[in-house]
Subunit: 207 residues, 2 copies
C-alpha cells in the first residue's frame, strides 16, 4: 500500500461534540487530546514520516475567552505529551502575539525527543497571512513554515470540506479526506480508511 | 438560499472521459467547451458574481505535445466564446512563457464584453509558485492574482479531492464540492446540487 509521507490533521468538531454531549462548548477541547495521542501511535506504527496538527489559528483567538483558554490549554497539553514520545517536534505560529502560550515557546525550534523519528509540526496561533508574509511590508522569499514539507494527505474531522487556512502552500497538491465524525469521536478506523483511500489516488503533483 | 459570490471551477476528467469513449486522450478537451458555456449561463441566471476557471497550468504543459495543443486550443475557444457574452473577462498566468497562447494575450487586462456583469477569471499557464512570487528572488507584497477575490465554493469534476495548485490564497476558506462525473459529462444538476450543499455550510472564515 502506498503510504503518505506527510499527513495534515484538522481536528475539527470539538465544540459541536461538546454541545451534543450536553456540555459547554469549551469543554470539548480537553476530550481531543487523547484522540491525538492515539492517532500519533497509529501513524508511527504505519511509518508515517511527518504529521502536522492544526492546533489553533490567530483568528480562533477572537472567540470568547473561556474557549480560547480551553483550546490553548489542550494544545499545550498535547505538545507536552508528544514531547514525552519519540518525535522531532516543532511548534509554528505567531510567537510575537500575547495569544501565543509562553509554555510552548521552548518548542519553536525543532527539537528531538526520545528516539526522534517522526517529524511533528504543531500549528499554534497560526495564520496563513503571517505564513505567506502578506501582513508585512517587505516579503522574503521564504515561507515562515519553510521547514514544513509538502503534505500528501489532509484529513479533516467534523465534516467540513475546506482547508480553513491550513498551510496553503504545503497543501497545494494534497488529497483531502473528510471524516464526518467529530474529532473527540476519533476511531482508529478513520485513519485506516483515510490511508487506504489515499493509496488508491493517483499522484500527479500538478503534472 | 445563500448563493456563493465567487465559484472556482476545476473541470477535471477530460482525458479519462475520452478514454472511456474509446477516443484518444487529447480528444477529450474539445468536449469540455460546451459544458463550460452551459455552466456560465446557469451561474449568470443564479446571480453568481464571479467565476474562476482552472484552464491549464504551467505544469500541465509538460504533457505530450498533442495534449498540450488540444487543451490550449480548447481554452482559447472557451475564452473567445465567453468574450461574445456579457462578462468582465480576465486571463491570468505566466504570459512570459512560450506556452502562453498568443491569441489570449489581449485578455490579460480585465475587459468588459457585452453588458459586462459577471467577473470571469480564466487561469492559463498558471502556476501557484508564480502567483505567490516564490520563483522570483524579490517578492512583492502583492499576489500576481490580486484582482481575483476570495473564493466561496470550489467545484471539482472528475472525483479527485484536491486543489492541485488552484489559487491557494483565494481558496483558503473555500468549501470544496466534488463531482465524481468527468467534466465533459457536466449536467446542470451538478451545479444546483453544489450550490444547495454550499447554502447549508456555515461561514466562519477561520473565526
Amino acid at each position: 500500500m502506498r503510504i503518505p509521507k506527510h499527513i495534515g490533521i484538522i481536528p475539527d468538531g470539538n465544540r459541536r461534540w461538546a454541545l451534543e454531549q450536553g456540555m459547554k462548548k469549551e469543554d470539548g477541547y480537553d476530550n481531543g487530546i487523547s484522540p491525538g495521542m492515539d492517532l500519533y501511535y497509529i501513524c508511527k506504527d504505519m511509518g508515517i514520516e511527518e504529521m502536522t496538527f492544526y492546533g489553533f489559528t490567530a483568528d480562533n483567538t477572537k472567540r470568547p475567552t473561556t474557549q480560547r483558554e480551553a483550546f490553548s490549554e489542550a494544545c499545550i497539553k498535547a505538545v507536552e505529551r508528544l514531547s514525552k514520545e519519540d518525535a522531532e517536534l516543532l511548534v509554528l505560529g505567531k510567537t510575537s502575539s500575547a495569544m501565543f502560550p509562553e509554555r510552548l515557546k521552548p518548542y519553536t525550534t525543532r527539537s528531538r525527543f526520545g528516539e526522534g523519528g517522526m517529524k511533528i509540526n504543531f500549528l499554534i496561533n497560526y495564520s496563513w497571512e503571517w505564513d505567506l508574509g502578506l501582513q508585512d511590508g517587505a516579503i522574503g522569499p521564504q515561507l515562515k513554515t519553510s521547514d514544513v514539507s509538502r503534505i500528501d494527505l489532509v484529513i479533516r474531522w467534523g465534516g467540513r470540506r475546506r482547508l480553513s487556512g491550513f498551510l496553503p502552500v504545503q497543501s497545494v497538491y494534497s488529497d483531502m479526506y473528510i471524516v464526518d465524525d467529530y474529532w473527540p469521536d476519533f476511531r482508529p478506523q478513520h485513519i485506516y480508511d483515510a490511508v487506504e483511500w489515499y493509496s488508491r489516488q493517483d499522484v500527479t503533483l500538478g503534472g
